[in-house]
Each structure stands twice: as structure tokens, then as C-alpha cells.
Symmetry: C2
């Protein structure tokens, strides 16, 4: 298989070290798969078995797998009606049911196995969150080491859950953390560290499987709308590509309206889209509660703008900072507790419904990218719950008051 | 369907309020399903759709579901070899990939829907952990309220993740927390609160699905050994019943050697089993790091002893307190980060292998009951990770030293 440049079309060999075009600097992508079927023999395993025809560059029998993917699609039920949606039209794709509880596992399983197959001993990752934990888990399983580059002011409690897999070396970086992306590419070739960054071709390939599963879960009649919290843009690219491949092989005949969702506090794509620009401008310093997907200068930003121009992605929208925690709460009432960045698709669904862009009766899926358990610190700000204290022998009297 | 007493065989109607025998006080259980097939039409939904024939007391189209079950089975790979197991014989069933990240969701989905169907507005739960969060999620989705009874000394940070679903009223109980189980039964009938405690018939039914999935994932050739962290005994009963039903319908012809695993710090079942007793004695005050499954007076303890006597369960074993965190670490190296109680099955596998009880080449599955993210406080005690700090422009030099 070949890689091609998403901008200028130049072709490259598909090797771990190739991720950006040496001519124009834009992201490379694996060529489209146009032949394949779904393999249903085995139940309850990785998406890489079920959809293996769409990953011809891997050898399925030699992979280290953690059962990634195969996540639930939830009907929001009572909460959907409360928000004004037609019953049974608002759904959550709950990616927190992945092995390290975020959608990152879908891409990491490919990054780690592909790098391992090509002789790499080290995985690198610029992340203090989902991606770091995910890389740690897969690298350990493959006997590799992970270098995690984190900001130097990171609290200890955030480091622990990402180092628990045992393979991780933490590097605290002093200076402009957002400038590390280009540096990581230089370290990659020099020291043989495969950087499983957020929009490398392997990761984009993994995220395709979200689209595959959605097609199956909706009986090959995809939703009208799909809302995706978007940071670097790589994951959105993967989902879009997944639908395109299922269309190419004849499994679906229509692709949903895909929406890139960012928070107002860090929304470089939305800014560029609304200004009609063809390239992303650095957002500058930012503050957002949706830290999990905040990227002031997204490496796949220009490609997302191109996708919108080509009408393969519908639009980019922002949600208010002050909406994020309330929508986290609402989403939890539907049974899914996501981290703040995860709730932006859900918040955007309501916004687009109110604006008349989403029409009543159209089916909407919001992607929930990661578990709320990873960012419990935000809960204390918003937490309001009924609490009572009573002696064991007086519980009876208390209950009489409460029910 | 009828309930029957696990001890004296007395029959009762299957209603939410029936959970213990009015004659002998022992747990009631739903009668065995002996006819059924697996429904494979839809992909990626709740186990309750796939195995609906084994839940004839529910109406599948009317349920509130969160995509519970359908969790991965992981080959421990390099870690298994390190521990001395034959390659590809040690597996983890990762229950942290459930909607609220523990195996409790399998039982709760039945408890909540069954209670709702019978007109209950309230769910009660005696838990400050997995069960409380799980009940909160399902109760919210069904528009019900959850009363969570917790010890009065519970830290605030433990309350937040269980109240996030919005339906939860917290009741802090002063006095002997372990004495609340019988009191809860009295409150149930008086105030119409359905207590989704750890061994009610509905919960046992839900846990059957772990056995169903294991059978499918192992191609209807179940493992020789299955190790289950055991507190109240209800979940172990469910898994055993699941295998029995698949055998009754002809899907398997053999049931694994099931092992109940407890921590030395709180192991009333192991104590009774080793002493040859037929009933459980209260363990008294206890201290264990495996809090998630600690129960000093397990309500299904006598029934577990009967199951061992009937050779339907193989044995009960304890693991050392000092083994639990090291095995948590080892398990994470295989890619699965479980809470301390979750790692006991894995630790016991090694113990039984070393003792010659598990023979080389026999296939072993350890059940991982819940995510390590819920109990990150234990990490700081054990945490050792490599950490470096460097200026952005000097990362190159640092990497030269590290690789």
C-alpha cells in the first residue's frame, strides 16, 4: 500500500517514519481500500479482526490486541426528549468502553503494532492524557518502551495513571509545549522513536473503525449527523475515511454530515472555517475546560478545511465554555459519564438543533471520546448532590422523609 | 418464571421484592433456562439482545440499555511467559470495558429494568464504589432515583464519581456499616425502594452473561480454570449459573474449574472452606487493599460453600495482601489496569500454578472486575516511574542518553 499527500497528491511508501509530505508539509494518508467484507466469525474481539480487509498492511495473526473498539451506541432516551429531540434520534457512541477508556486505543493498536513490525523499540507521544495512557498500554504489551513528553507543570496525579503500564518514561518539557510537534519528528528519525502523534497515518487508519461500527450498529443506514470533538483533526479524518471506504466497497450508499466540534476557548479550525480561510492560523495562548482535545495549531487543521471545502465534512462549530460542564451532566443523566472534551459533540447537537441546522427527526450521533473518570477534578466545581447523614438505627425515619 | 431457594428448594414468584427464602433465609435464584439460542443479528449491542432467550422474564424491546457486556478477552502474552505460563494459556476477561467501567453493569441493567417494570421509582444500594455508580447510571436513564448508603467517613472524592449521573441521593450511615444489609431489606418493602444489592436474583442473572461471552470467545471450548474475585458471592453464582445454562441448552459440554478468590485481609469464604464448615462465620473487623470486593459476612457465602461441596465450584483461595499491588502492576504490563480487588484472580492464577493445582498448558481466565482509574490513590504508594525534565531545545541531548 502507498501513502499519498492529502494536499498535493504526492505518493510515498507506507513506512512508520512517513507522516507528512516532504514537498508541501501536509499530512499523508493511506490510499483508499475499495474491496473488502466484514468478518463475523469470531465474537467479542478487536475491530482489527472483524474489519481486517480494511487493514491489508497488517498481519492479523501477529498482532498484540487488547479488544479495542466494539463500543456501544446508546439511545439518549429521556434526556433526548428533554433537549427537544424527536424520540430515538439522539445517540451517543461511547468510546470510553475501550481498553484504556478512550478512542485513542483504536489508533494506538495500529501505531504500536506497525512500528513493532518495522523494528522500532520505542514509541513517543506528546500527550499528558488519553494518548499517553493508550500508548503505554500497547507498548508494554509489545515489550516496547514509551517516551511520554508532558508539560513540566503537570500535576503528579495526572502522571500516575499514564505510567501504570510500566513501559513509560516521562519527559517533562520546559518551554513552549505546543512547539514540540516538529521537534518530535526530528527525534523520530534520529533515535528510532516512532511518534504515535494524533494524526499520523496509522492513527487515522485506526479511527476509521468508528465509522465501520456505526454503519453496522445502524443497520447500514448511517445517521444524518455525526458530531466529533476535534483537536488535531486526525481522528475526524479517520472517521470520514472509514465511511468513504464502506461506501467504496458498497456497504453504504451515503455518508453522514460530519461536524468538527471545538470549544470556544481553543477553536482554530472554527475560526478559519468561519473566516473562509484555507489554512489554519495559530490560535495563540488559550484557556479551555476541554483540555482533552485542545490544540492551538492542529497539524491536520488544513486538511479538515479542505474536507469541508470538498463537502466531505459538513462544517466546524464551537461550543461555549460555559456549556461544557452542564452538558457533561446531562450526558451522564443518559448514563454516559464523559470527560469534558468528550461532551462537546453532545452540546453541539443541541446547538445545531436550536439553530435549525439539524432538522427534527434526523438521527444524530455524538461521539464520546473518553471517560469522565480521568478528569474528576472538574466535578468538584459543578458537583451538587443531595446528601444526608443518619445513624443506622434511624435510617427508617430518614427514608420516610425522603421517599 | 419461578425463584427457588438455593438451600431448601422452596419456590417463590419471581418479583423484585423476593430475594431470600422466607423459611431458611438463604438466597433465592431464578430457575434454570434449558432452551435457547444465541441471537447474532445485531452487532455491538447489549448482551441482553444477544442472549435474550436466557432472560425470558424481560421484554427486550422495552429495556433501557447502555451496551453492557461484550467485553474483551485478552491474551496476557509476554507477561504470561514471565510468570511461567505456557504461551497463550493465560487470559484476562476485562470487565472495565463496561458502561460504568465495572462488571456490576451486567447485573444492574436487569435490576433497574426489572424494578422499573414492576413500578418501582427508587433503587437502593449499599455501596460506595462500583455498584453505586452503576445503579446511578441506570436509574437516571430510567427516570428513577437512587439511594446510595455509604459509610459516614467516606472521602468526598469517592462520592463525586458515583453521584455524577444525577439521580443519586447519598445517605451517610453512622454506625456498623456491615449491619445495614438486613436493614435494607426492611426499608425495601416499607418504602418501595428496590435494593439492587450484590446477590439479589436479578444481579445473579446478569452476571451469567460473563460465562456466555467466555464460551463464545473461546469457541465453545471453555477454559480449564476461571478465577473470580469474590465478595458477596453473588457474581460468582451468576457466572457458574451461566455455564450451567449453556450446558443445559447444549452449547458446551463442560464447565470450567471455577475458583473464588479473596484477599487474606478479608476472606470469610476461604476460612470456612479450609475449615470444612458448611456456613460462613462473620470475619470481624478487617483491613484489606482489595476494598472493592471485601465483605466480612457475605450474604451468598453459604451458597458458595454449597456449590463447592456439590463440585460446581472448584475451591476458594486467598491471595496475600502484599501480592495485590505487584500483580496489579504486572497485569497493567499486559495492558489491563484494574482496581486492586480486580487483580486478585490474576494473582491467584500464579499461586495455583506454583502449587501445581493449575497444570502447565491448561487455559486460565482471570476476571478483571473494574477499572484502576476508580482507585488511583493506591498508585502513589507503589508508583515508581522514570522521569526526566529538560528544556525544549535540549530534548535532543536528553534522548541521546535515554535510547
Amino acid at each position: 500500500m502507498k501513502l499519498f499527500c492529502t494536499n498535493c497528491g504526492r505518493k510515498e511508501d507506507f513506512k512508520p517514519q512517513h507522516s507528512r509530505c516532504p514537498e508541501c508539509g501536509e499530512p499523508l494518508e493511506v490510499e483508499l481500500v475499495t474491496k473488502g467484507i466484514i468478518h463475523k466469525e469470531r465474537y467479542g474481539f478487536s475491530y482489527l479482526e472483524r474489519y481486517r480487509d480494511f487493514y491489508p498492511f497488517l498481519e492479523p495473526e501477529k498482532l498484540f490486541l487488547l479488544g479495542e473498539g466494539n463500543t456501544p451506541l446508546i439511545d439518549c432516551g429521556l434526556v433526548a426528549e428533554k433537549l427537544g429531540f424527536t424520540p430515538a434520534t439522539l445517540f451517543l457512541k461511547n468510546e470510553s468502553a475501550n481498553p484504556t477508556w478512550s478512542f485513542k486505543d483504536r489508533g494506538t493498536v495500529i501505531c504500536a503494532n506497525f512500528a513493532h513490525k518495522h523494528g522500532y523499540q520505542y514509541i513517543g507521544v506528546v500527550s499528558a492524557g488519553n494518548n499517553a495512557a493508550s500508548c503505554g498500554a500497547y507498548a508494554s504489551g509489545l515489550g516496547m518502551k514509551t517516551f511520554v513528553f508532558v508539560p513540566d507543570n503537570i500535576p503528579e496525579e495526572k502522571i500516575l495513571p499514564i505510567t501504570v503500564y510500566g513501559s513509560t518514561v516521562v519527559v517533562k518539557v520546559e518551554g513552549d509545549y505546543s512547539a514540540i510537534y516538529p521537534i518530535s519528528k526530528a527525534l523520530e528519525s534520529k533515535y528510532g522513536v516512532y511518534f504515535a502523534n494524533s494524526d499520523v497515518p496509522c492513527r487515522v487508519e485506526g479511527t476509521k473503525s468508528i465509522a465501520f461500527e456505526l454503519c453496522e450498529q445502524m443497520n447500514f443506514n448511517p445517521p444524518e449527523w455525526l458530531l466529533i470533538p476535534t483537536g488535531s483533526g486526525g481522528d475526524l479524518r479517520g472517521v470520514e475515511k472509514g465511511f468513504r471506504e464502506f461506501k467504496a466497497v458498497g456497504l453504504i450508499d451515503r455518508i453522514p454530515n460530519i461536524v468538527a466540534v471545538q470549544s470556544e476557548g481553543c477553536c482554530p479550525m472554527v475560526k478559519a472555517y468561519e473566516a473562509g480561510n484555507e489554512t489554519i492560523t495559530h490560535f495563540g495562548s488559550y484557556e479551555t475546560i476541554a483540555k482533552g482535545s485542545a490544540n492551538p495549531f492542529p497539524p491536520s487543521g488544513n486538511q479538515v478545511l479542505r474536507l469541508i471545502k470538498q463537502r466531505r465534512v459538513n462544517r466546524a462549530v464551537s461550543v461555549k465554555e460555559t456549556d461544557i460542564l452542564p452538558f457533561q451532566k446531562l450526558m451522564a443523566q443518559a448514563g454516559v459519564f464523559g470527560q469534558p472534551a468528550s461532551c462537546m459533540g453532545f452540546a453541539a447537537a443541541k446547538k445545531l438543533l436550536d439553530e435549525g441546522i439539524i432538522k427534527p427527526g434526523e438521527r444524530v450521533v455524538a461521539l464520546v471520546t473518553s471517560t469522565g473518570l480521568k478528569v474528576t477534578s472538574v466535578l468538584s466545581k459543578e458537583a451538587k448532590y443531595e446528601v444526608y447523614q443518619e445513624k443506622l438505627e434511624k435510617l427508617d425515619e430518614l427514608m420516610e422523609k425522603l421517599v
